[in-house]
Every structure is written in C-alpha cells, then in structure tokens.
C-alpha cells in the first residue's frame, strides 16, 4: 500500500478523514439520527398528541362515516379524498376539491375534517404531532424544503464516508464488539463509540444508504438526465398518473363502499387502502380510486385499483412491476420501516438510538481527546466545540421535550397553535445553546440532562391528572400504543437522570484525582 497523506499509510489516512468529516457534519447527523429514531413512533406520538380521540378499531365504520360526511357537506365537489389510518394511527381525514379548483398539495387544506373512530366528525387540538420529528428528520425547518434536503443529503453522504473510513480505521472490529473499559475518560468514550458503531453497523450502513436513496433523484439527477429529455418525462414513466375523467352531468348514486373494500382486500392479499379518492361523486362517470397503505407491504410504491363509482366493478389496477422501481421501493420501505411489526419496529428504534448515541459519543470523544492534549490552555476552536456539543447533544432532546410540553400546555383555541408548538421547541433549543455558553460545560451538561429527565418524567404525571388518557386510563382501555408512550416517557426520563448522575459522579472522581495529584506535588515540592 502506498503512503497516505499523513505519511503513515492507508489506515491513518482514513483516521484523519473520519475525525474531520465526522465533526463537520456531526451535529446535523445527531439531529437526523435522533429524529429518525423517534419517527419510528410517528403515529404513536400523533395519537399521544391528540388525546381527544381514541384508537381506530374498525376501518369500515370510519370509511362509511367519512363518505357520509362528504355526501352531506360537499355533494357537488369535483373530487373527495379520504386519508385512512393504519392500525397504529387514529382518525381519518377528509378533504374535497370544488369544481374548477386546484388541489392543495402542501400545508393546511381548509376543507380538511377529522373523522373519529366512531365515524363521526370530531375536533382535536391543532398539532403536527409525530410529523414534526418526521419532517425535521429530512426537511429541517425554517428554510425552503429543498435547502433542508440538500443539507441532510450532504451530511448523510459524509455519514456514509465516515462509516467506510471508520471501518478501515478500526483494525480490531471483532474485538471492539466486546470491549468496554468504563471510567477511563477518553478510552471509555472511544470504546463506547466503537461498540455502538460496530454493534449496529449493518443498520447504520443500511439506514444511511437507503436514506440517500429516498431522495436520490434530487441528489444525483444525472442518471435521469442521461436517459430522459425532462424530469417530467421520467416521472411520466416511473409513476404514470391516472387521466382525469369528465363528469357526464347525469346523476347516479354512488356504489356501496363495503364490496369495494372487500374486492381490494382480495386483490391485495388482505391489504388495505390508505387513501380513497372519489372523482365525480354523484355523477354517472364517478370513479373510486383506492391507493394501498404503506404499512402492509415492504416495497414503497404505488398500488392502485380503480373502481367504477356506480357499478363498483374494477376498471384497472397498477402495482410496481419494474425491477428498478422495486429495488428503489424496497430500499425506501426498509428505511421508513412502515411495514415493520412491533418486534422489528423496536429493533429499528433501538438501532436508531444506538446510531444517535454513536454520533453523540463521537462528538464527545473529539473534545475528550483534545482536552487531554490541551490541559488548561485556552483554545478558541475547542472552547466553541465543547459548548456546541452541550447545546446539541443535551439541548436537542430537551427542546423536543419542550415540544411535548407545548402540546399539553398551549391553549386549544390559540391561533396558529400547531406552529407555536414547533416555535416553542426551537426557542427552547436556543435557550439551551445560550445556557451552554454562559455556564461552565461540566455544569451545563448535568443541568440540561437532569432538566430533560425531570421534564420527561412529569409528562405522564400531567397526563394522568389532566387528560382523559393517562397511563391508568389507557391500561384499562387496553390501548397499547398510549400505554407504550407513557411508559416510554418514564423510561426515557429515568435514563436521562441516570446519565446526568453518572456524569456528575465521574466529574467528582476526576476532581478528587486532580486534587490528590496537586497535594502530592505540593508535598514533594
């Protein structure tokens, strides 16, 4: 092997690449990993954030209720749409489009109505729920979506580089798996970083690569430009749209939805629709389009069945057949884990937590290594990184807990309530950064970690006292998702307090050791 740029060979050349690419993108990666891991509970968090509505048990009841509501409120609309919940979510959302109007693609649709589990229109507090963490994971916030996606893509690409260079740097990858030497400062941080990285290495490699694939045409459009005259031509081939149908003007009643759902379940091997769209309702040219939900299949892609809205007969159907689309869809499906049953979902989540901890220990390791070298000398770069680490690693979870508290405490009638929940999260994050810069880092770590722990532990207490769905209520109702949320908050809170306590103890030990060394030096000199 020829010598690398450190003049020490291939492995060392990769060590430099690993350290610097890791630090460059570390804080953003921490945000991406943490919010990605949390997003495996996106539906559960949304359910928790809207305690007004309970679990959906019967899809047909909700679907019939949604159609009845649309029939009553928008009988002359050009098109109706019903977003149905999967087993983990709650409540359906109906929207409609008036004749001659364009559909609302992004943001709030003023026609949106929430349909409760009993099939009747209902109201719940205005919140983004679990979607806030899901969006933050790849769009970031307060900037055009496309900027956020490029920042996330850039950082993910260097995550992939850091994984490859990290594997090359670590010569004893198997031994690292079983090595942990606690209470030894820098050595322990390195052992922890290695163990977390190696333990879930297949997950880290998979999640980073498939994450890049989810938005690949944005990042690498050159395959498309090589083969298609325009991006539109590519989409027309990869995801062809249904041609619109014109209404005839002759009224005709809509077919019963029950047999339509039954036919879809038969054609999809038991699969269920996630979206039902009804074009030209009440007209002879009515059409019902069922889109299969993501949670009952691995491959992400479009499964669609078109029914005649009057006779209820199947007119056409599509499913991914191109090998390339299935490769891409399989990778996206693996990333998002929408198909994952509970056991696998937990595994995904815990691996995501391991990834978050890997990035966090990597960031702390960077400072631990340099603190040992610098001693008491002042170095501006080090000073800033040490404080940013506190504000990022301890501050972000505190801010996210702030979002949960805002969800509970902001008045339900407040204007732009959902936005203010998110603003509260970012204001809290700003406060943690400020706190990290005015307090000594060792104190700031302990204060922020313990505040997060206490704030998380108090949430279930508040829920029990002030909402109809506290832990005991959900246990009685057999509502597994909400029991899981409340217990999860308790375990997380206890974990943060435990980490804070460990940090305080190891700092005390270090101070005692330093004092002993000073005494020894004085006794000698």
């Amino acid at each position: 092997m020829k010598q690398g740029f450190t003049k020490q060979g291939f492995r060392q050349s990769q060590a430099g690449l690993h350290t610097w690419s890791g630090l460059l993108v570390g804080w953003v990666l921490y945000l991406i990993f943490l919010n990605g891991a949390v997003s495996y509970w996106r539906e559960e968090i949304t359910r928790w954030a809207q305690p007004e509505i309970g679990a959906t048990r019967n899809l047909e009841t909700v679907t019939r209720g949604a159609i009845a509501h649309l029939q009553a409120t928008a009988p002359k609309a050009a098109s109706w749409q019903i977003m149905l919940p999967d087993e983990r979510a709650s409540g359906a959302t109906t929207t409609y489009r008036e004749k001659g109007k364009k559909p609302v693609l992004r943001g709030d649709d003023p026609t949106a109505t929430l349909i409760g589990p009993d099939g009747k229109p209902t109201v719940a507090r205005d919140t983004e729920g679990g979607d806030v963490f899901y969006r933050l994971h790849f769009d970031l916030r307060y900037m055009p979506v496309i900027w956020g996606r490029w920042v996330v893509g850039f950082c993910s690409m260097f995550m992939l580089v850091a994984i490859v260079s990290g594997v090359i740097t670590h010569k004893k990858i198997f031994a690292d798996f079983f090595t942990f030497r606690p209470g030894k400062g820098q050595r322990s941080w390195l052992d922890g970083h290695n163990a977390l990285a190696v333990l879930a290495l297949p997950f880290h490699a998979m999640i980073t690569y498939t994450g890049l694939v989810t938005l690949m045409v944005i990042y690498v459009p050159f395959g498309v430009t090589a083969n298609y005259p325009t991006l539109k031509a590519y989409y027309a081939e990869s995801a062809p749209r249904l041609k619109p149908v014109k209404p005839t003007g002759q009224p005709a009643p809509l077919t019963d939805i029950g047999p339509v759902l039954a036919t879809a379940a038969r054609l999809w091997d038991g699969g269920q629709p996630g979206i039902i769209r009804i074009d030209n309702p009440g007209d002879k040219a009515a059409r019902i389009v069922l889109t299969r939900r993501a949670s009952d299949k691995l491959v992400d892609g479009r499964w669609e069945i078109v029914f005649d809205g009057v006779t209820g007969k199947v007119r056409s159907s599509v499913a991914p057949t191109s090998a390339g689309m299935i490769t891409r869809g399989g990778m996206i499906g693996l990333h998002a884990g929408r198909f994952a049953p509970m056991t696998l979902r937990w595994l995904f989540f815990l691996s995501g937590v391991a990834g978050t901890a890997m990035v966090a220990t990597g960031l702390v390791l960077w400072t631990a290594k340099r603190r040992a070298k610098l001693g008491t000398r002042f170095h501006l770069g080090f000073w800033v990184v040490e404080r940013l680490n506190v504000g990022a690693v301890a501050g972000l979870p505190l801010a996210m807990t702030g979002f949960l508290w805002a969800n509970r405490l902001l008045p339900t009638g407040m204007a732009h309530r959902a936005d203010w929940e998110v603003h509260t999260m970012f204001l809290a994050w700003g406060a943690t950064l400020l706190h990290a810069f005015v307090r000594p880092p060792n104190k700031a770590w302990i204060e922020q970690l313990s505040l997060t722990g206490v704030a998380l532990l108090l949430l279930p207490v508040f829920d029990q006292a002030a909402t109809p769905r506290g832990l005991i209520d959900s246990l009685k109702a057999g509502d597994g998702a909400l029991v899981g949320m409340e217990l999860g908050l308790l375990v997380l809170g206890a974990s943060f307090l435990a980490i804070a306590w460990r940090t305080a103890r190891s700092q005390a030990k270090r101070r005692a050791k330093d004092a002993a060394l000073v005494q020894l030096a004085q006794a000698r000199g």
Binding site: Q14, Y209, M216, F222, G223, G324
Partner: protein, 97 residues
C-alpha cells in the same frame, strides 16, 4: 529540522488537505455524475431500470472515490486519476447516447 522547514511542511500539509477537499466535494461529485450517466446508458435493462440502478449505485461510487482521494499518495496523483476516470466515463456516456 529547522523552524522554516517545519513551517514549510505545515504549509504543504495544509495545502494538501485543502486540495483533497476540493477534489472530494466538487471533483469526486463530477466524476460520480459522469459514471452515473455512463451506467444509466449502458446497463443492459429497460431505460427506467437502468436509470434507477445507476442512480442507486452513485452513492457507493462517490463514497469509494472520497476514500480513495484521501488514501492517494499525493493530491496531484488523486486529481490526475479522478480526471482520467471522469474523462473515460464522460466520453463513454457520450458514445453510448
């Protein structure tokens, strides 16, 4: 080693790292683009499948190029090899059009 030599060596190393970063971020990305175009036009499959597989492969190609840029014995050498791969892939992609 004299102080001037140390300063020179440091300056050289700083320049070397800067050069490699430039080679990585715009350089290796451009070469990846050329390789993706070549693959999209030459993988023996339908137009759609070839496009998708080439795009999926692009991230692996880029990661491998970055690792190699930092492992090469000099930035100059890394730059020349990148240029050669980029030129071959680019010409190949044009030829395959």
């Amino acid at each position: 080693m004299k102080t001037a030599d140390v300063a020179n060596a440091k300056g050289r190393k700083g320049w070397d790292v800067t050069a490699r970063i430039v080679l990585t971020i715009p350089g290796a990305y451009a070469v990846t683009a050329a390789c993706t175009m070549l693959l999209a036009r030459t993988i023996p499959a339908s137009r759609l499948d070839a496009t998708l597989w080439a795009t999926i492969a692009a991230f692996g190609i880029y990661a491998a190029l970055v690792v190699w840029v930092f492992a090469a014995s000099s930035a100059l050498r890394a730059g020349l090899v990148l240029l050669a791969i980029g030129a071959i892939a680019g010409l190949g992609a044009m030829w395959a059009a």
